[in-house]
């Protein structure tokens, strides 16, 4: 059986997730044994064929040109995977949505801003249909491989819809709140094996929020630990500003 043709594409991002993939190490050989990479700007110069089995998308959609480009890639691809926080939830690029577009363009492009268009930052699924999500900033390699396998098997991958705390507890980390530090673990989707906390960092919420949080309970906890609410909201917005677009779309329906 021919190996599936896979293309990697990037939009507005730091390309850090590509770097994660390129730095797979030993596992890279196994991955390359399973797929045929036909397009990957960071590691090769060739341009791929018209039809792709799998398109793997990094980055968020931030201008009209990107909207057209992602739509074309979607047409070319049998399966589309969004990977990294920028692609899956908008990521840090979403912070742009805190400001007026015109102000942003002036700030970035100075007096020539009229020549550079810009649109509200969107996650990939807010523009085209996404079949698989690999959350994280950057992606957690074991999850990247797990999702890739599901895509190759043609079966769904379910992002764990439970808090990072679950995995953190299984790793027997001392809770950040016990250390007096505010951590986004309690409201952030698991699947990263509490990577950051294992390495003595806090969770920044890069994987997006759990879908059915107990808001009342969460507020009580935040109050119990005397964390100001706007601090939590700010921290959440660092990666999750684009969730407002999902909410807006839900309301429309």
């Amino acid at each position: 059986m021919a190996k599936p043709k896979v293309g990697f594409f990037d939009f507005a991002c730091c390309e850090g997730c590509q770097l994660q993939v390129a730095n797979l190490g030993e596992m890279l050989l196994d991955v390359l044994g399973a797929i045929d990479v036909v397009e990957f700007r960071e590691v090769m110069s060739e341009k791929g064929p018209e039809k792709l089995d799998v398109a793997i998308i990094e980055g968020s959609i931030t201008d009209k040109h990107a909207i057209e480009r992602i739509k074309k890639i979607r047409e070319r691809a049998g399966v589309l995977i969004a990977y990294g926080a920028c692609a899956c939830i908008g990521g840090v690029n979403g912070m742009k949505n805190n400001f007026k577009l015109e102000d942003i363009r002036k700030e970035v492009y100075g007096d020539r801003f009229k020549y550079f268009d810009s649109v509200e930052t969107k996650a990939v699924h807010q523009v085209v249909k996404v079949d698989y999500f690999i959350n994280g900033c950057p992606v957690y390699i074991p999850e990247f491989v797990a999702v890739l396998k599901c895509a190759l098997q043609g079966i769904p991958y379910e992002v764990p819809d439970r808090a990072v705390c679950v995995e953190c507890k299984l790793n027997e980390n001392v809770c950040m709140y016990q250390k007096g530090v505010t951590c986004m673990g309690p409201i952030t989707k698991a699947g990263c094996n509490s990577w950051c906390i294992n390495n003595n960092n806090i969770c920044y919420g890069c994987r997006g929020m759990v879908s059915n949080p107990n808001e009342k309970g969460a507020k009580d906890i935040i109050e119990k630990y005397k964390v100001p609410m706007d601090l939590i909201v700010n921290k959440m917005n660092m990666y999750n500003k684009c969730r407002e677009i999902d909410k807006r779309e839900q309301k429309k329906r």
């Binding site: 399973a34 890739l148 396998k149 190759l152 439970r162 679950v166 001392v174 107990n214 309970g217 906890i221």
Partner: protein
């Protein structure tokens, strides 16, 4: 005749390193912020003294978090080979609450149909218990469930007598450990006397239940408690993180998942810890969830500790270790929940016990 030995504290390091040379030894080590975890140790000074129940109980060695139960290769059909992964080891420093937890798991997994993976693994593990001379903290409720003193379930059992440990030998495996090193001496009558004095003192420390109800009345309490208001309160508080079940020494629910390798031909089928607190736990493929509310899921957890196992195994599956309360960010506290139930049903008996908070 009961066998007691003593180990001088200055010989403790020798004892642990001798044991660690023979086979893997895991024991509680300090993680900071008064938190502890069982990890591999090579010498005695790595082991925490005065540790409170570890973040995860020793069940992680009896039913690993992610356990391979079969290997498969579908290159030529559905070929699967069931396997058990095990490791010879000694767990040092198992508190009496955790000994009780292991006994609960033993019951579940030896109940038919038996779980060979668990039973094979369990036989490779040597257990060295460790007595609590006092309460660990305000979360424990070991007296309520009669686990503040040892009820078997160990090979050796250590009690701290100041400058030495007195060690009870319960099994042949325990006797072998004693024989491995020359640091043990037979306990003298004086040593036994000191142990008895300590146990008498403990009776004063653990004089009353941590919840104002008699042990024998707890099943009756739960018979009345299914529709209690307290579950609605927990519904508001609980964020369904599942930490209470992961840290529980007697929670054993799991998920079964396949993990293929990248060739998509070979791989492993594994069991992973799961939690009845998660929304997806009681969902069927069609999408219907049979325990949709967080309060109902919390109730299920309490009933799985105090009611259902009592009916099936004549034993509480709450070991009184206090981990669920200690770990809960939302401040759901087992002693408080029970106390509210006791008061709600007019079963409060201040002579039986009192809530000691702080």
């Amino acid at each position: 005749m009961e066998q007691y030995f003593v180990l001088k504290k200055k010989s403790f390091n020798d004892f642990v390193s001798t044991m660690a040379k023979k086979q893997k030894v895991v024991a509680p080590i300090e993680k900071g912020n008064n938190q502890y975890a069982f990890e591999e140790v090579k010498s005695g000074d790595e082991i925490a003294t005065g540790y409170i129940p570890t973040i995860l109980p020793p069940k992680k060695y009896f039913m690993p978090q992610n356990e391979t139960i079969a290997k498969f290769d579908i290159s030529s059909g559905q070929n699967m080979e069931p396997v058990v992964e095990y490791e010879k080891m000694t767990i040092f420093g198992v508190r009496t609450c955790d000994l009780a937890g292991i006994q609960c798991l033993n019951m579940v997994f030896s109940d038919r149909p038996r779980d060979l993976n668990y039973l094979i693994r369990k036989n490779e593990i040597t257990i060295v218990g460790f007595e609590c001379n006092d309460y660990c903290d305000e979360y424990a409720s070991c007296r309520l469930v009669h686990n503040h003193t040892p009820n078997g379930g160990y090979d050796l059992f250590f009690t701290d007598l100041g400058d030495k440990f007195i060690v009870h030998v319960n099994t042949l495996a325990g006797e072998e450990i004693i024989g491995q090193s020359n640091v043990f001496e037979k306990a003298s009558d004086q040593d036994i006397k000191m142990l008895n004095i300590l146990r008498t003192k403990k009776r004063e420390i653990f004089a009353k239940n941590e919840v104002p109800i008699e042990h024998e009345n707890i099943p009756g309490l739960f018979d009345k408690s299914y529709n209690s208001k307290v579950w609605e309160e927990l519904e508001k508080k609980c964020v369904a993180c599942g930490n209470c079940t992961n840290v529980c020494p007697s929670c054993y629910c799991f998920d079964v998942v396949d993990e293929p390798n990248l060739d998509l031909k070979t791989g492993r089928r594994s069991r992973k810890w799961d939690s009845c607190q998660h929304e997806t736990f009681a969902k069927v493929a069609g999408g219907e969830s049979f325990r949709e509310e967080r309060g109902a899921r919390q109730r299920h957890r309490y009933f799985r500790k105090f009611k259902y196992p009592m009916d099936k195994f004549s034993r509480f599956f709450c070991t009184g270790c206090g981990r669920c309360s200690r770990t809960c960010m939302a401040g759901i506290n087992l002693k408080e929940t029970l106390t509210v139930l006791v008061e709600e049903h007019g079963m409060k008996n201040p002579n039986a016990g009192e809530v000691r908070i702080g």
